[in-house]
């Protein structure tokens, strides 16, 4: 297996630049997920790594070797497509064997590799069937099988689970993670689903508008988002952003007054923040509790999910606020609710979206 380095990759389609100076160092056997909203350039970046698109500038280095000008097959990568890209007229066996037939591999070797891939993916009894006779999950496995037999240095996955239903997606997430463990392979995986990113990745690259917003472990992104975009993107339900005014800054942190009038001293490094600055306080829905004193919201919609109650409401000044509360919390739609959050759980974002680093958050690396 191999390391993968992207050095200052840019990509333009005509006058439109879709990737801006992207540099990443992906380690051997690492599972890295590119995540971001539609149009952020994540699939384009993957296609550039695969050799299906040419970078406007920059270099792709696999295992220390610049492969930017190499044909896809010579880069030592294999790719699983969102649509699976299975050949409908060929059997499962022939689909998996396709790359080996292109390579004109000997019959015995070809058969051994196909059978091994089929065993890993539990497809042995499906080898004679055609893709049209398989379920979505099985088709996905065939597509993975086709990339396994190539024995590539780097596996590339382009939103491979997006065509599956929610239950199957959950199962396949587990299977892919297990596969990564058993193959010990370097994998790059593209998705717009932050749950997939959080559950599967060793490290996540958050992309937005063709730029890397943050590259880190899932828990780093959760506890120490680099900016408001990452904070909003990572976490389910999304983080709340409450407008606030800085009242003062000292060693204990930043004292702010939330838009509803509630005052808090938040343990963050104040940086350049000064009294009077407008900031936003980021509060994750799962970090609030019902309390006799604190921030007051008016409950608009209540979603009882059993274990938790997702509560959507508004503060007095109309700021939307979401809280994830215990399933049996005594809440009613239309009624006021007072919520409390521990200062150490709060994030503070400056007007430009950058975060003020928290002093007391866990230093998670994995």
């Amino acid at each position: 297996m191999a390391t993968l380095n992207l050095n200052a990759i840019t990509k333009s389609f005509g006058a439109a630049q879709v990737l801006h100076d992207i540099s990443l160092a992906i380690e051997d056997k690492e599972f890295v997920v590119f995540v971001g909203p539609s149009g952020c350039g994540k699939s384009t970046l993957l296609r550039i790594i695969a050799g299906l698109e040419e970078a406007t500038s920059g270099a792709i280095v696999i295992d220390g070797q610049d492969v930017s000008d190499e044909h896809p097959v010579d880069r030592g990568i294999s790719m699983v497509f969102q649509s699976y890209a299975l050949y409908p007229h060929l059997s499962v066996y022939e689909n998996i064997a396709f790359p080996l037939r292109v390579q004109k591999l000997g019959k015995a070797d070809l058969d051994r590799r196909v059978q091994r891939a089929a065993e890993i993916l539990q497809l042995t009894d499906k080898l004679h069937l055609k893709p049209g006779q398989l379920s979505g999950g099985q088709r996905q496995r065939v597509a993975i099988g086709r990339s396994i037999v190539r024995e590539p240095k780097v596996f590339l996955f382009d939103e491979p689970l997006s065509n599956l239903d929610a239950a199957l997606r959950g199962d396949m997430r587990v299977e892919l993670s297990q596969l990564h463990g058993s193959l010990d392979a370097t994998m790059v995986y593209v998705t717009h689903d932050q749950v997939e990113a959080m559950t599967m990745a060793d490290r996540i690259v958050v992309l937005n508008g063709g730029r890397v917003e943050q590259f880190g472990t899932p828990m780093e992104l959760y506890h120490h988002p680099a900016n408001k975009f990452v904070a909003a993107f990572i976490g389910q339900p999304n983080m709340n952003f409450v407008p606030a005014t800085v009242l003062g800054a000292d060693q204990a942190g930043l004292t702010v007054e939330l838009s509803g009038g509630h005052r808090m001293t938040l343990p963050v490094e104040p940086g350049s923040a000064r009294a009077g600055d407008k900031v936003e306080v980021g509060i994750r829905p799962e970090h609030v509790t019902v309390a006799p004193e604190g921030m007051e919201i008016s409950v608009r919609v209540l979603e009882r999910l059993g274990g938790v109650s997702i509560t959507y409401g508004e503060t007095a000044d109309g700021t939307r606020f979401c809280a994830s509360l215990p399933g049996d919390a005594p809440i009613r739609e239309g009624e006021p609710l007072t919520l409390s959050v521990a200062p150490r759980d709060c994030h503070v974002f400056q007007a430009n979206g950058d975060v003020l680093r928290r002093q007391s958050a866990p230093e998670m690396t994995a």
């Binding site: 050949y87 292109v102 049209g132």
Partner: protein, 310 residues
């Protein structure tokens, strides 16, 4: 609470009368189409079959049983016509399919001005057949034709060559004109089928190192195979029944060299006023095309089994 029976509108209507009127309404809907088919298809077909058992001409009709068919079975000339017709059909269809496939592949390639090329292939199909064939008559003309003139200039011939005056050259010249007319339709159908093949399949194969030719052979051809088979059947029927091209170019000559079954039938029935013998030929055409179509449908089934998705 006791159940209450409430009469619905259906209960109160008279079901018998409604059923009859629905039936009549149905026949009224189907009637015009049935009448149309009866007048345009069924009656002429039945009349042709009836006439095939007659000695029929301008002077009247006389029942002769299977005599017309017997004459055909025993006629060496008719056998030659059948062989010629199938040779004409297979040669022309093969050329149309090969050229259509090449043309579609080229038109499907990502080249600048692709849309213009797609429009440019259509004129042979669009312009009226008679006008197109008059163009070919000029091309094939020994004294004024471009082809003969070019051949003389290049020293291939030392005098005017009348393409349609010699048996072999007339036959192949007619085939070329027929291919010219028929290829655009085949090309456009193949192109449409090729455009339906998912781009991901090609990209996946490309990532796996498959060459352009390998992708064409292992992905494009199998993916469009059902269309190839369907088009070859359609094209075969059109070519088998191709009349105007031959009639305008050669009228079946010289000395019958371009007389196919359909031309032979026309000449017998309309030119020579032998309606009975002509009808027997027409019935044989229907039978041959019927057998041919059944065989083709079997092939289509096999193809679908091999290249289908299930």
């Amino acid at each position: 609470m006791a159940d209450t029976v409430v009469a619905t509108p259906q209960d109160t209507a008279k079901p018998r009368r409604k059923a009859v009127s629905e039936k009549v309404f149905g026949w009224l809907l189907v009637g015009p189409a049935m009448l149309f088919i009866a007048v345009i298809v069924a009656w002429p077909l039945a009349e042709t079959i009836r006439l095939s058992f007659m000695e029929a001409g301008l002077g009247g009709e006389e029942y002769v049983g299977l005599a017309n068919y017997q004459d055909l079975v025993e006629s060496r000339k008719f056998h030659q016509t059948i062989v010629r017709t199938f040779y004409w059909m297979f040669l022309s269809v093969a050329l149309k399919l090969i050229l259509g496939l090449i043309g579609a592949a080229l038109l499907n390639a990502a080249v600048p001005g692709r849309a213009l090329f797609r429009v440019l292939v259509m004129p042979p199909w669009i312009i009226p057949m008679a006008i197109g064939m008059i163009g070919w008559l000029w091309l094939y003309n020994g004294y004024f034709g471009v082809l003969s003139g070019t051949m003389m200039k290049l020293g291939i011939t030392d005098g005017p060559f009348e393409f349609l005056a010699y048996k072999q050259s007339a036959f192949y010249s007619a085939v070329v004109a027929d291919v010219w007319v028929g290829t655009p339709m085949v090309t456009l159908f193949f192109l449409a089928a090729m455009q339906g093949v998912s781009r991901d399949l090609y990209e996946a194969a490309w990532v796996d190192g498959a060459s352009r030719w390998y992708r064409f052979r292992r992905i494009t051809i199998p993916q469009i195979m059902p269309v190839i088979v369907s088009m070859s059947l359609l094209s075969a029927i059109f070519t088998f029944n191709s009349f105007e091209i031959i009639w305008i170019l050669t009228e079946g000559g010289p000395r019958g060299a371009t007389t196919t079954l359909i031309v032979d039938t026309y000449k017998t029935a309309i030119s020579n006023f032998k309606f009975g013998e002509g009808s027997a030929r027409a019935v044989i055409i229907v039978i041959l095309l019927g057998i041919f179509s059944i065989l083709y449908l079997q092939v289509l089934k096999l193809v679908n089994r091999k290249y289908g998705t299930k």
